[in-house]
Each structure stands twice: as C-alpha cells, then as structure tokens.
Symmetry: C2
Subunit: 342 residues, 2 copies
C-alpha cells in the first residue's frame, strides 16, 4: 500500500500521534483523560466500550486482564470498511475479469463473465454462489503470491467506488479506526478475522489499520510451493482452501491465534459464531455489533440483506445484552473524509 | 504445561535471566559481550550464528534488518527436541490407544492397534502411513479442543521416554533453547513450523521455548464449531485438515506469518522447502541444519533414516553453504540435564 488517501493518512497520523503521546508502558491512567473515541457521540455504546477497557486494564478493578490475553478480533467488510453495493473484493474481481478477458474469448458468451464485461452491475450477484465462486477463483489465482500482491496494490491506487466515487480506502469507518487505535494503545492485540481473502486484504489494510500481516485472518486459496531452477515461489490455484466465515471463524481463531478473544467486533450473522465464542470466555468479554442504520452517510440494511445480513445476530445481541452500534446515532462521522468537510 | 522438569526449569530461568539482564531496547552492544550460546563449542557454526545476529542487529553493518522483519522459523521434532526412536507425538498416540481400547474391542484383532496394545514397539511404523494416519486420527479427535489440551497436559506430566527413561520435556536440546533465547533477545519473532499437531504442541512446548501459542504452526485436524444450549465448543474430527510438511511449510508460513523468514532451523528433508524459501529472502538470511551425529548422547542418522531423513537437504546445504551443525562436535551438552551432571 504505497499511496494512501490524504484523509486516511491524516487519520493514521492522528491515531499514531495519540498512541505515541500516551504512555502504554504500564496501563497508566493519564492517557485515559483525553477522549480516545472523538468521532463517537456520547451514549451507551461509547460509554460501555470505555468502561470495559478501563476495567480490564486497571489492576485494581477486579476485572484486570493480563496483556497476552487481550486478544481483539474484528470482521472487516461492513465492520471496519463498507461492503456496499458489493464487497470491495468483488470490484477487484470484476476489474480483473476485464483485464483477463483477452485471454478468455469464451467469457463473451458465458455468465457471469459476459455480464461483467458488459458492465451489468447485477451480473455477479445474479450468478449466485457458484458464479461468484467461479469468478473469485479465476481472478484470485494464476499468479504467484508476490504477483498477486502487486496486482492488488496497483488496483487499490486507482480504483474508485462505483457510487461514492472515492478510493475504496476512503470508505473505512473513522470511529472503528479510533477503536482499533484505542485498543492497541491499551495493549490489545488486534486481529482481522474476515471472509475476505488474506492476500487481498494484506496489501491494502495493514497500514491503514496499523495491524501487521500475521494478524490478518481470512479466506485462502489453494497455494502450492514450487522450486524452479533454484528459485522458489508460491503459486495460487483457482480453488478455495478455507472459507473463513461463520463457525469456521471460531475454528480459525483457535488454529491461528490459539486463544479465545476478549473483544469481538462484527456486523453480520457471519460473525455470530465468533461473537458467541468470545462471549464464552471465562474472562470479561465485550461483543460489539455494527448496525448499519445510516442510509444517508453510508447504507441502511440488516435482517433481509443479501450482503451483511444481520438477523440472528441482532436477536442474540438484544437477548444477551451485547453492544449494538447504531451507526446513524452513535457516530459523529462515518468516513475520515467527513472530518475535513466539517 | 504445569510441571516442568527441574533441568528444563533451570534452563528457562537461566535463559530468562540472560534476557532480562540484556537491554533489548535498542540493539545495544553491551549484551553481546557475554557468551549467548554457552553450550555451543567454539567453531564455525557458533561463530557464523553470532556473526549473523551481530550484523543484522547493527545499524551500521550495512546488513541491518528492521525488527518486524526478523522472523525466525524452526522445525520441532529433531530440531529442538528429539524424535527417536519415534516422534514423541506417536508415543502419546499409542498411550491414547491403550486408554481408548476398552471402547474399541475390535482393536484386539486389528493392526496396528493390536500390536500397540501388545506393546510391540514396531507395530505402528510397520503399518505404514495409512496405519499411522488411522492411529493419529482416532487418538487426536473425539474431544473438544479444550479437552484435548487437558489430555496432552496430563500425559506429558507422567509419560517417560521408552529408552532414555526421562520425561519427554527433558529431551529438548539445550543449545537450541539457548539459540531461541538469543534470537528472542535480539528481537527476532520465533516460530515453530512443525509437522507435529498444533494442539499437541501448544500445551507442552510454549513455556519451555518461551514461544506464545500463536507462533506455533503445525498440522491440524478437522475441527467444527458447535453451539449447544448456549455453550459453544470446538469439536475435533478424525480427519486431517492440513499436513504441515515439505512445501506446505512454506505455504503455511505465507498464510499465517505472511513474511518470508530470515532465519530457518531444521533437521530433515521435510524442512528443505522452508530452508529454500528463507534462502530466497532478499534480506540477508541464515539457514541452519541440525545434523544428528551423536550416537552416544542422542542418536546418529541422516540419509537413510525413515524418521528425520536428511539427504537432499544435506546436499543442498553443502552446495549452497548453509550452516550444518555437527551435534557431536558443535554441542558441549545436548540435553539440559547434562548441565547438572557436569
């Protein structure tokens, strides 16, 4: 990720500044006097987050949690950046279909490729999970891992969101960047646990979220080690290896992180298993659902949406008293660029 | 791992003491004046390790490597602890067969179970990869992850090596513990990348190696998330999910660590791919093969061994100038308990 939007860059600089000026050495109190979540409106959601972090970092609260156990997991699409009208990774895939089309004359007559090449915005979703799987497989393979990173890096520098007309990296949620920085500042280890592809996310989000590559968990494609004339490389195949969604998010958390999280952020039923898993921690835990309620600044959707459906999760959050963020009400700004417009 | 052998405990305390008394804040020089590898005889292997670490941590060497890029990967069986006569995990599996036998009357006549129950030391290996796979599957599944950890923890506290008559945790290589501590002390992030099962290793080795659970990469068994009456759990199935060996070690390093290592330690052809992968780093890298040459203190084997075969790897190490440790010649002591006997 060589080139960041100026707004995102400003946000990162501000967050790094906050991190650097607070003393993280020993959970000290002085850093907690300034507002760690300035883009959040005062209310129950914000207060409960701050109260939780204060308690688990205060050795005298009776709820203190040791630093190695401060594991926080976050979904990505719809939780830290937008996922509408389609997952951003799908736009990468569709642009890749166009780039690869000259090598695939058969796509002119084969759906969903035909529709994608004719700029039909509904073609991909209309093809169902089989068609989507086919498009993802062919557009996320056929290269080495290093080449794929380069493709993604090149794409993200120029691609623009189809309706917001902004770089995709502008469409991260400023309040969630603040939350990530706040947790990191309090010695939480923050992980992304997403249905998105690991190697699609890494070149884009690591710098923006201040999260190292090994803390990005996601979907993987079959990859094979090759050794050719003294040079090793990893070749990506058009076959899914692991789809990181629903119960498999909890499975992957155990396999890779090896500890039950104490903090979980998500926005859909695909995150419900890792919410339940986090809620079952014997240590005090915090479950946070982002509820998309803002049709003006972002999008409004929940129980009936094909993308990011929040139905069973909303029921369980209400039943079990998990925190549900009302995006419209709880967030002063949604995107970093709004900070510059205020 | 609640109970450590006294020898291993002494070694850990010594290593922690060394780590605590050296200032790791800024790659300073004073800590390098004492011998970081006291159980290694002076010689080319020891000198080249120390020279490499000095160079990559010295900002003025021209070979300085930033801390986040100091990724070190190590095989486990035969590299950090012994693997003879059989992998230690196989002894766990065989003891588990005996514990589970009452529920499986059919094992009395079915190989390799019959042989294991009759204490035939060759039964398991004689059954080949199919038989071994069957035994591992049935003994590493049928429980939740938490229950499996408990089984392993209970086993390691009382199990003894069949010929050395020591706890398995006594059979770690003191020089390799020193090497791990030395690299950690120089801000390397140390990973285990083993063919052993992740959830078998974690309860045993994390404390001994000073490596957190999320830095243990290994073989995994199919695991399924279940939610029963408000309680989530992860159920282990008798089916291999990922066999972490050969080229797949490099694949797993990319998937989970996300960076090419700069330091790789191994002992067999199963580690050759991650050696090659490390050697292809554009940053200065170090490849280290443990060569089992000591038939008295440990075991001597290489090109023709069924377990831990080192054949192609030895050829490439010699050709490419990688460091090959001659266990007999390079190590003053092999196991921590020898320190007390000297």
């Amino acid at each position: 990720m060589k080139k960041l939007s100026i707004f995102v860059a400003v946000s990162i600089i501000l967050n790094v500044f906050v991190a650097c000026t607070s003393n993280t050495e020993s959970d000290n109190k002085t850093s907690k006097q300034s507002d760690p979540l300035p883009s959040w409106n005062d209310g129950q959601a914000k207060a409960s987050i701050i109260n939780y972090v204060d308690e688990v970092t205060n050795t005298e609260s009776g709820k203190y949690i040791n630093i190695p156990d401060r594991v926080a997991v976050f979904d990505n699409d719809g939780t830290i950046w937008s996922e509408r009208p389609l997952y951003f990774q799908f736009y990468f895939a569709m642009d890749r279909v166009k780039a690869l089309a000259p090598e695939h004359p058969e796509w002119k007559t084969e759906q969903p490729f035909k529709g994608i090449l004719e700029n039909d915005p509904n073609a991909l979703m209309a093809s169902g999970s089989e068609g989507i799987g086919k498009v993802l497989a062919v557009t996320h393979s056929g290269t080495t891992v290093a080449e794929f990173h380069q493709l993604v890096s090149n794409w993200i520098q120029t691609a623009k969101h189809p309706t917001k007309d902004k770089p995709y990296t502008d469409l991260v949620y400023e309040p969630m960047l603040e939350l990530l920085a706040y947790l990191q500042d309090n010695s939480f280890t923050t992980y992304i646990v997403s249905g998105g592809s690991i190697e699609f996310m890494r070149p884009i989000i690591c710098d923006i979220y201040n999260i190292p590559v090994n803390q990005i968990l996601g979907t993987s494609f079959k990859t094979v080690y090759k050794y050719n004339d003294g040079k090793p490389f990893l070749e990506r195949y058009p076959e899914m290896d692991f789809y990181n969604d629903k119960g498999d998010k909890a499975v992957n958390i155990q396999k890779i992180i090896g500890k039950k999280p104490i903090f979980c952020g998500g926005n859909s039923d695909g995150d419900l298993a890792m919410m339940q898993w986090t809620a079952s921690n014997s240590l005090p835990s915090f479950m946070l659902y982002v509820h998309h309620t803002d049709s003006i600044r972002e999008w409004a959707y929940d129980r009936k949406s094909h993308i990011g459906r929040l139905d069973k999760g909303l029921d369980q959050a209400n039943k079990d008293g998990w925190t549900v963020i009302d995006m419209k009400k709880d967030w002063k700004v949604v995107f970093p660029f709004e900070l510059m417009e205020r």
